[in-house]
Symmetry: D2
Subunit: 332 residues, 4 copies
């Protein structure tokens, strides 16, 4: 860690700061410049509160030389992580297709969509049982009943299932679930992350609404530091001042996360754009950017289907998209 002091700092203040830093067990390397003094801190600087030092009145700025994320850092783990979900592998060259409806509605719906997406080439079935909604008056999901319906669909198709968990207290219901999804709003629900770290189960960790890549990696770090390395990162669009689209899909996050970390990166073009018509071009783009998989909403609900509705694709649209995605994969 490098600490740059302000110009013209008195020697006494400087000495007190250095003494205090040494008191934390750090080595301090002092470099006096023409105008400014620069301190190099050596030792276990991960424990040092960078913001505190940065805000001291004699400090101009602080810079960390080594990243604070360790377990998920590619520097310390150069090979790609491959996450195993039943027979399905994600990462390290293995591409995964996750598909299914936004919400589980009833047995017919989920089994029918599951069969359709399997036929189209999907490897995993997604479906929401617990739904985070901005309004308390909106549909909150079938909860436990939805979980049971997902298991029926798995039995019928053999597809492992991915579904969102919102609270530690619901964990017992998820015992037989294949992949536990952490939604954008819970990316920094640290108690939930720690608990998931102890399950050992594959996790799909979605990037928060307005979180940086470093924050996403630090949240993965919470899970990994608790003992679970089976993490799939997920880019699903971030909040900006966009006018025609719900969120801004940050596809450059894919190669950048691959450079920073060894974890697989999955892209969700459905939530990112909120418009079914935009899903195919963004799914293609995500594939070309090097994503390790795609999670896409597909439904067969007639009133929706009538109108080409919402952010979900119809099964036949999804099947067509999968063919194009595979063609792009071959180019890579």
């Amino acid at each position: 860690m490098i600490v740059v002091l302000k110009p013209n700092v008195g020697q006494e203040k400087k000495d007190r700061l250095i003494e205090w830093l040494k008191g934390m067990g750090l080595g301090v390397h002092i470099s006096e410049g023409e105008y400014q003094t620069v301190l190099g801190l050596i030792g276990d600087t991960a424990k040092v509160d960078m913001e505190l030092i940065d805000s001291l009145d004699i400090v101009d700025s602080v810079k960390r030389v080594s990243e604070t994320f360790k377990c998920c850092n590619r520097k310390f783990h150069p090979d790609d992580t491959v996450v195993n979900i039943g027979d399905v592998k994600v990462g390290g060259g293995n591409f995964v297709l996750i598909a299914g409806p936004c919400s589980v509605e009833n047995e017919d719906q989920i089994v029918s969509v599951a069969k359709d997406v399997k036929a189209a080439g999907a490897n995993l079935l997604r479906g929401g049982a617990f739904k985070p909604r901005t309004s308390p008056y909106d549909f909150q999901g079938l909860k436990g009943e939805g979980i049971e319906l997902l298991k029926i669909a798995r039995k019928e198709t053999g597809l492992p299932i991915v579904t969102e968990i919102m609270s530690i207290d619901d964990l017992p219901l998820f015992e037989d679930i294949d992949v536990l999804q952490v939604g954008a709003r819970n990316m920094q629900n640290f108690d939930l992350l720690k608990e998931l770290g102890q399950t050992g189960k594959p996790i799909l960790l979605k990037r928060g609404l307005a979180n940086t890549l470093k924050e996403l990696l630090m949240s993965a770090e919470y899970i990994m530091a608790s003992g679970n390395e089976n993490i799939n990162l997920c880019e699903r669009g971030i909040r900006t001042y966009s006018d025609y689209l719900r969120n801004t899909l940050d596809l450059a996050a894919v190669p950048m996360l691959h450079e920073l970390s060894h974890l697989p990166v999955i892209v969700d073009p459905s939530h990112a754009t909120g418009i079914a018509r935009m899903v195919p071009p963004m799914a293609m783009a995500a594939t070309a950017a090097g994503a390790d998989g795609l999670i896409i909403e597909v439904h067969n609900d007639p009133p929706h289907a009538l109108c080409d509705g919402a952010q979900s694709l119809r099964p036949e649209e999804y099947a067509e998209l999968v063919k194009k995605i595979k063609a792009v994969r071959e180019v890579l």
Copy 2:
């Protein structure tokens, strides 16, 4: 709700949409314009999924006429809510001063700061026992022990206490706490909000990192719809591309939230700026903008004090600031 259709939509598609809307129990008022058709939906449109309709291929745009928040809406509750915390009142002309250290560290520290801020004029004591941290390797708070130390400080000074709750599972530890704070990262932890709705306890609900005012009000709505009306909203800065400050303090949120809602609005200038030197001008500005209170970090930790450290004020700086704040209050 108003639904604007795209130009040149076929009659058949239009009819199917209208039929589907009527099937949800809504009245549909059709207005054919020169170029476009506009549908006015009448009835309980709060249940209608606006995003779904907006994304239909024949729909140009959708506009809600009535807000989806009810309980916290000033339209339906014109008078200011006054939240009672022991003898302390917040809102409706009652101004509250909340102060204390970022983290509870030990008995001496919390009791000493509590006495200092009380002497300076503070009405409530704040102090973190459970600390949400971006990194799993950073100090996570004294937890249950911190809660006990806060109670000692309350006993010594008579100041009611405010402290953050991060998980439903910790609720029993907070039984004797006066105000439960929901942090920015948990603003949309809906399970926690529902549970807090059942406690009846005063809540300090912080605005999330990048949440809109409507989302903040919808989160208040979760608590109120569960039966608890004792909510203090809190503006603490939002994430932008700011270069010299940690967050961007959105002070116009104060009069706008007052217009939209009857709940009191408290401002946190410490977290918003992250720099102690910026806290006094922003505290003054928040007061002048009409805030119902201020939550400010104050510590007496010598190594910090030596260097004018971090985002916390020293007790004597806080005392001086309180005098100025009171002078601004008199002008209003």
Copy 3:
């Protein structure tokens, strides 16, 4: 245009508003709801100041039914525009590869890079002669001399040239330039846009730092309303709170701009990411998203080349990338 009034507005105020609207030559269709009154405005609402009406104390909200952009609107011009630059066509299925150095430095450099990118398959040569720089102390470009060097490179290779214009006063220097680029910082320099509208020359209009798609289209509208229809829109990344990348490349803008407008859309992955290693995956992604072309920085400057420098690719990296881009194009 639809104007929703607040509940409980007095009849007198309502009448005055309606009278005032009619005074502007608009038809007003009044629809009284259970709680609120909605006014439908008919006629030439493009002239109506939506923000003014929205801010009236009796108005709840305002919604435009028809877009304010006309010339560049696909609704009124369903076929793709094809921009002709010498023999090169852009849009309507024609893909363009623009490449060259950030700045023109000297004759050897620009001629050498021009030959290299032509050999790799580029159709147009880019190079900065006038450089907008945040700091007055940074290199501002070779200006007129740079323009002359670009012409030499064109003569040597036959590649038409694209270069940025920053000021109306420089227009005479650009008389013999093939494509005039408007940089992100000048996207709303309306005097410049109007002037360019009178040149008839092909324009490359870059999206501003934090501008919406509607604002980009309105800036194209300035040029088109002045008589020039040869516009290429360009997405080059927008400002967010991104931590590891300079800007956030908004690739969903590509299909959305295609839906809204008939103008071609080019993507600049070099400025968007600021890092050469990120350019190939983002160039691939932009192609897969349906872009009509790519503008990419390529240099052959030895000190840079030594270190794999900056946001520019080396000629051999560019040649390799072009092969992959063409393979992705074939999939589409």
Copy 4:
């Protein structure tokens, strides 16, 4: 400037980089750490392209130790700048009240408003003659005629005038104008800034839509480096994802700009919020935050006045606000 190299960089690459840096006339101080090498660059690093070095493949990160802004930097000019506009002083404890209509409409209007705001206590008259509008179809201002009307209002009241300049070519029309305003969209129109640097006239430099404080100061630096030190910075709200307000007024910019620079800082609460009802609380807050002045829209247009319209205050509202602002000033 500090350059941190990546771990495990080969000696040959390291040597080439150091040689190249020395070739630019810089001293290079090498510090080998346990894991990483850190280079300290000494000399005229203002000329060094930080982004280029940051993007080299062997470089982990780069940090500037000294700011790139010099003329406007408080470090090199500790005393507040006082800008003189006729007899009016701004900065260094002198508070200025600028008021007037958004657009100059006709002689009656501008003279009447000028008299009203003067009576209320305003020191300067503002009024738009050249209007930057997002749409080419919106009213673009009375231009030269508007300038003449402003001069008449000045003659009638003695108030110096502030009005926006959009293009270098219009400069002759502004010869007799007291303060030249640079609008948000032109903050990085560097050719215009350089030209204004040669006029010596007082400038009101508005912060761009999404610009950082450093970029604002670098734009001031363009003007100062060209020889004009009479600059008033202006915070007018930045673009975020705000839902109920047009922009987000960043009031913490006021004390931060005062810390970084010696230039006066004026706040525009009218454009920041876009809603007249929000102007008084934000004007009060800006004053309490330590602003050196306020620029506020005031009109007397009957149809507006009828409805409490737009972002402009009526003269009597402005007069009442000025009294409160003066009371807050006395507290400070």
